[in-house]
C-alpha cells in the first residue's frame, strides 16, 4: 500500500517542482535593463521591503512609460535576504552573476548591506543603499567605491538629533533608549559621540527587545540617572511600547526619535502620547506636497489599490528614498551611455541637478561623498493623528 501510494504521489511532487521552476522563470524580454533588490521581504521587516519595492516600481513604471533609458526599459528583480547577511550576499551574487543586473539596491538591515559591500566593490557593480543607515556602508574604505546611498547616515542623524534636542528642549543630560539590534548598537556609538562633541554627559544607554512589553525598568533607571531627554532608536512596535511604558510611569519627558516610528501605525499602537515624540524624517507624504509628491502619491494609489489613506503609505522614507535612488540610477545610466559598472560609477559623480521627491539634488554624489542626503536634509516631524507633520505645525 505504502509503495503504491508513494508511487502515485511522486509525480505530484515532480509537477509541483516543475511548476515552481516554470513560474520562477517567466519569459523576459532580451532588451530590458535589469536592476536588483536585496531586502527583507519576509519576517519582521517585511514591510520595509514592500515599501522599497513600491518606491522602485513606481519610479521604474514612470521611466519606462517615457521610453526607458538608452532605448531600453527597466525590470526589477527582487530577492529576499530574510535579514540574514549570508543570504543577502548569496542573493547579491545571484543577481549580479546569474541575472546580470546592472546595479542593485539594498534593504533595511545594515549587516546585510555590510556583507554585500565587498562583493559590490570587487564585482564592480553599483550597489545603492536606500534604507540601511550604518555609516560604514558607504564609508567602506575601498579605493573604487561602488556603494552609493540615498538614505540617512546614522552618524549624521545622531548629530542632528542631539542638535535638535539641545535647541528645542534645552537638553543637558540625554538618556538613550535603544533597540537591541545592530541598528541600535550603531546609534549608541553615534549618539554618544554626538553628545560628547557637545559636552553633554549621557545619563545611560538602555536596551530592549522587539517583543518586550514592559520598558518601565529601563526607563526608571534613566530617570533615576537624571535623563532630561530620551533619544529613541527603535521600530514602530517597540517604540510604541516605550511610549506606553512612559504613560504607565507618568513620566512626561521629551522624546527625540530616529525615523523608526514613522514606519507604521504609531498612534494606533502607542496611544495619544505618541504624538509627543519628535522623529527624524527624510520625507513624509503628509501636508502640502510638491508637484512631484502629488504625482508619486497618485501613482502609488493607482498601482496599489490597498493604499487608501495616508496612513497606508508607510514607511514613507522607504518609498521616497527608493524612488529617488531609482531615478538617480536612471540618470547615471543615461549619462554613462552604457550599463558597464566602472563607467556607471563615474557617471554617478556627474549627474545633477535632479528634482526629486525628497529634495532637488544639485550634485547628489561627489568623489569622497557617496551619500546623496546630508545633515541638512533631515526634517523633524511628529504624528498628528495618522499624519506626520513637521515639528512646529
Amino acid at each position: 500500500m505504502g509503495i503504491f501510494a508513494s508511487a502515485l504521489r511522486l509525480p505530484r511532487l515532480a509537477a509541483a517542482i516543475g511548476l515552481a521552476v516554470t513560474l520562477a522563470a517567466p519569459a523576459r524580454a532580451q532588451d530590458t535593463i535589469k536592476v536588483g533588490l536585496v531586502a527583507a521581504l519576509s519576517g519582521q521587516s517585511a514591510k520595509s521591503g514592500e515599501a522599497i519595492t513600491r518606491g522602485l516600481q513606481v519610479a521604474i513604471d514612470e521611466i519606462n512609460a517615457k521610453g526607458g533609458v538608452l532605448g531600453r526599459t527597466f525590470e526589477l528583480v527582487r530577492r529576499d535576504d530574510e535579514s540574514n547577511p549570508a543570504k543577502g550576499l548569496l542573493a547579491a551574487r545571484e543577481l549580479v552573476q546569474k541575472e546580470k543586473v546592472v546595479a542593485f539596491f539594498g534593504g533595511i538591515d545594515t549587516p546585510v548591506s555590510l556583507a554585500v559591500v565587498p562583493f559590490a566593490n570587487s564585482s564592480k557593480v553599483p550597489f545603492i543603499a536606500v534604507w540601511a543607515a550604518g555609516t560604514g556602508i558607504t564609508r567602506n574604505g575601498a579605493e573604487e567605491n561602488y556603494v552609493f546611498r540615498v538614505s540617512a547616515v546614522d552618524e549624521l542623524v545622531d548629530e542632528a538629533m542631539i542638535d535638535f534636542a539641545v535647541k528645542i528642549h534645552g537638553t543637558k543630560k540625554p538618556g538613550l533608549m535603544l533597540i537591541n539590534n545592530p541598528w541600535g548598537e550603531s546609534n549608541e556609538a553615534g549618539l554618544k559621540k554626538a553628545a560628547g562633541a557637545k559636552g553633554l554627559p549621557v545619563a545611560g544607554a538602555e536596551k530592549f527587545d522587539n517583543a518586550d512589553v514592559d520598558m518601565v525598568p529601563q526607563l526608571t533607571r534613566l530617570k533615576e540617572a537624571g535623563a532630561d531627554t530620551l533619544f529613541l532608536v527603535a521600530n514602530v512596535q517597540p517604540a510604541a511600547q516605550v511610549v506606553k511604558s512612559l504613560d504607565r510611569m507618568g513620566w512626561n519627558v521629551p522624546v527625540v526619535s530616529h525615523w523608526g516610528p514613522a514606519g507604521g501605525r504609531f498612534i494606533e499602537l502607542g496611544g495619544p502620547s505618541a504624538e509627543k515624540v519628535d522623529m527624524v524624517q527624510t520625507y513624509s507624504f503628509s501636508g502640502k506636497l510638491s508637484p512631484k509628491g502629488e504625482q508619486v502619491l497618485a501613482a502609488l494609489k493607482a498601482k496599489y489599490p490597498e493604499i487608501k489613506t495616508l496612513a497606508d503609505v508607510t514607511p514613507a522614507v522607504g518609498i521616497a528614498n527608493a524612488y529617488d535612488a531609482m531615478n538617480l540610477l536612471a540618470l547615471a545610466i543615461a549619462k554613462a551611455g552604457t550599463t558597464d559598472g566602472p563607467a556607471l560609477r563615474k557617471a554617478f559623480y556627474e549627474i545633477g541637478p535632479y528634482v526629486g521627491l525628497i529634495k532637488t539634488y544639485e550634485t547628489p554624489f561627489s568623489v569622497g561623498n557617496n551619500d546623496a542626503l546630508g545633515k541638512g536634509d533631515y526634517i523633524f516631524t511628529h504624528f498628528k493623528g495618522a499624519e506626520i507633520v513637521p515639528v512646529g505645525q
Partner: protein, 819 residues
Amino acid sequence: MRALLPALAILVLAGAATGLALAGESYTAFVIALVALTALVGIGLNILLGLTGQVSLGHVGFYAIGAYVSGILLLKGAGFPLALAAAAVAAGAVGFLLALPALRVRGPYLAMVTIAFAFIVEHGLIEWRAVTGGANGLMGILPPPVMGLMLAEREMAVLCVALATLALLGFLALAESRLGRAMLAVRDSEVAAQSVGLNPVVLKTLAFVLSAALAGLAGAVFAPLMMFISPGSFPFSQSILFLFAVVVGGAGTVFGPVVGALVVVGLPELLADFAEYRLLLFGGLLLAVLWLAPRGIVGEVARRLVRRRPRPVRADAGAAMLAPQGAPLPLEVRDLAIAFGGIKASNGVSFTARPGAVTSLIGPNGAGKTTVLNMIGGFYRPDAGAVRLDRDLAGAPAYKVARAGIARTYQTTQLFGSLSVIDNVRIALKGDPAQAEALLAFVGYGGDLDAPADDLAHVDRRLVEIARALAMRPRVLLLDEPAAGLMRADKDRLALLLRRIADAGLAVLLVEHDMALVMGISDHVVVLDAGRVIAAGAPAEVRADPAVIAAYLGGDTGRGRPRAAAWDGSRDAVLTTVGLTAGYGAAPVLNGVGLDVRPGEAVALLGANGAGKSTAMRALSGLLRPVAGEVVLADAPIGALPAHVIARMGLALVPEGRQVFPELSVRDNLMLGAHSRGKAARGKAGAAEVAADFEALLTRFPRLRERLSQRAGLLSGGEQQMLAVARGLMARPKILLLDEPSLGLAPAIIGELFDILAELRDEGVTLLLVDQMAALALTVADRAYVLEQGRVVKAGAAADLAGDAELEAAYLGAKAGGA
C-alpha cells in the same frame, strides 16, 4: 569491492562538485561551497543523530563559534590552517562542556538544552562587543593565501568540497568501525549496550564533541567565504535547517546529509524568483518531502533499491564456544536488599552460583527475581549487600559489571534492532570477528547473518542474545526467562544449550517460570518469595519443600466451583471465530483458530506459555490488527474493527496484568468501565442504570467500596484484579474476556476471584477465560479449547478435559511434574 563502493561514490561526487565549481560562474562555486559547508555540519549532526540517536537544535551555536574563532584569528593575521584547527578545537571543547548537562536529559528535554545553547551563543556574540564586534559583526575577513595561492570563491569552494569529502569518508569509516557500531548500539538500546560493556555516556559525549567540532570547522570556512559575519548570520532557524538537512536526507545514511544539504541550500536558490513567497513555498515543499520520504530521501531510495541477499551461517563455520576470561569463579550474592517506595523488593537475598553449574532462581510472580538479577547486573543500586566475583561489584554501573565478566540476557530481548545479527555479536566480541559466526552456530542460530535484529523471529532473538552475551567471554551468564514464549521443542534445545554452557565452566544463573526446564537442568535451585529466600537446594529437595509448594505451587489447589447443573442454553454463539490467524511480523502466532462461545456459557482457552492464548485475546478484542479469518460478535463481523469500537459493541476484555488506571480513583476506574455504553449511559434512565450497576458491583466486591476514593495504583494486586473485573462488568458486556486473571496473585486471592467468576457464570454472564492455572480454569468453565502452537488441538466439555490424560501430558504434565 562492495565495501569500497560508497567510498568510490563519494570521490566521484567530490570530483563532480569540484568540476562544477571550477567551470561554472563564481555564483555556482559559491552555492557549491555553501552546500558543502551545510553538508559538513550535517555529517557532524549525523554522527549525533544518525549514530547515537541524540537530537540537537543548537548546532548553529557551534557553527557560529567556529566562524568567530576563525574570523578573529584571521583578522589578527593568523594562518588559515591554524584558524581552521583552532575553530574546530574550540567548538569541540564547547561541545564537550555542553554534553555534560545535555546528556543527563533526553528527548524534548535535550532539544530544549540545545535550543537554549543556541540562544546563549547568539546573545553572547551580541553582548561581548569588544571581541565579537557586537550586533554589527566582523568585517573584512579575508582568507590568507595558502602556499602562495589566493583563495577566491572557486578555490574556497574546492576547499569546502574537499573538507566535506574528507568528513564523508571519515563518517563512512566511523560507521563501519567498531566505534560506530557501538554508537548505533547505544542508539538502539542503551540497556543492552551497557550489558556488552559499552559506556553510553562516553560514547554519546564523543559523538557530541565530534559533531560540534565538524560544525565548528564548517563555520571556520564560512567566515572567510562570507568575508563578513554577524550574529544575524547565525539565526536560530539555521539550526533547524541543519537538522532538516539530516532528516530530509536520511539520518544514519552516509549520503543523507549531502542530499539534505542540496535540498536546504539548493531549493531556496531555485525558488529565489518568488521573492517574498519563497519561505512560504520552501516550508510547503519541505513538508512535502517529509510526507513522501519519512525515512529521508536516501533512506527511502535505499529501501526501494537495495535487495539484500541472505547470508546464512556457514555449515563449516564450526560451532565453538569461547573460554571464559580468567579462571572460573563462583558468583557470591550476599544479603542483597533494595526497596522501592517503602516496599522491600529484595530483602537479604544470599546465594552462590558455582562455575560449571546451572543455578536457578524461581518464585511466584513478583517475588523479586528480576530485581535481584538487575542488582547483580548493575541496573539497580542495592541498598545493602554484596555481589562478589573477583571483587565486590554491588552498585557498580552495568557496563563495569559486564566488563568484570557478568553477561546477561533480558526478559524482553534487548538486541540492537537496526544492527545485523552478526554485528550484534561482534559488538561484544574482542578479537577475531570470525568467532562471531562460530558462536552463532554454537547457540544453534541457523538464519541470515546480515538480517537486522529487528526482523528476527522470537526464538532467534533469544539465541542471538545468548550468543552476544557469550561473546563477552563471561564467567557468569545471567538469563532472565529465556524460555518465555518458546515452543516445547525450542525449549528442549535451549535446555541442552544452557547445560553445555555450564559445562564449559561458566556459572549460569537462570530465572525461569517453566518448571520442567528448571527442574530438568538445574544443579541448584533458589526459591524467592516476597523478596526473601525461602528455600534452596537440589531440585528434588526444593520440590519436596512444603514452604515452596505453599508459596509457589499452591495455586493449583484453588477452590473453583463447577456449575451445579450442566449448562444448557441457546446454541447461537455470541462470539465466533473461523480460521482466525494473527501474529506479530512474519510468523503467525495464531493459525486458523475456530471457536465459539454461546450466551451464558463459560469457556476456557488453555495452552502452554506461548501457545497463543493471549494473542487470541488481543485479536478478539481488537488490540491486535490486522487479523485474517472471521471474527463475529453477536452476528456482526468485527475482525477489521479497532478495539474501542468492539468495546462499544459489547465485548469487554479484562487484560493481562490488570491495567487499571493507576492515577485515577477506584470510582473513576469503575465509571470509565461504563464509558463503552456510550449513549445508553446518558440521560436519566441511562445514568440510573449505571448507578444501579455500580452499587451492585460494590456489593459484590466489598473491598472496592472501602477503597472507593483511593488511587487505583495504591491497591494490592488482588484488589486491582477485582477492580479490573468490576471495571469490565461496568460495561454490561455481551461477553467478558479474562486474560490471565490469576497471574501474580496469592492463592487465597485466586480462590476468592474464581468464586466470583463462578458466581458470575451462574448469574448468566458469558465468559471466555484464559489462565495459566488450567485445572482451576476447568473447574469454572463449561467447555474448553486447548491451543498448541497457535492451533486448536483439542476441544470439549471441561469435565472431560480435566480428566484427559493427553491434556495432562501436553500441558498440565509440566505443572504436575513441578508439583
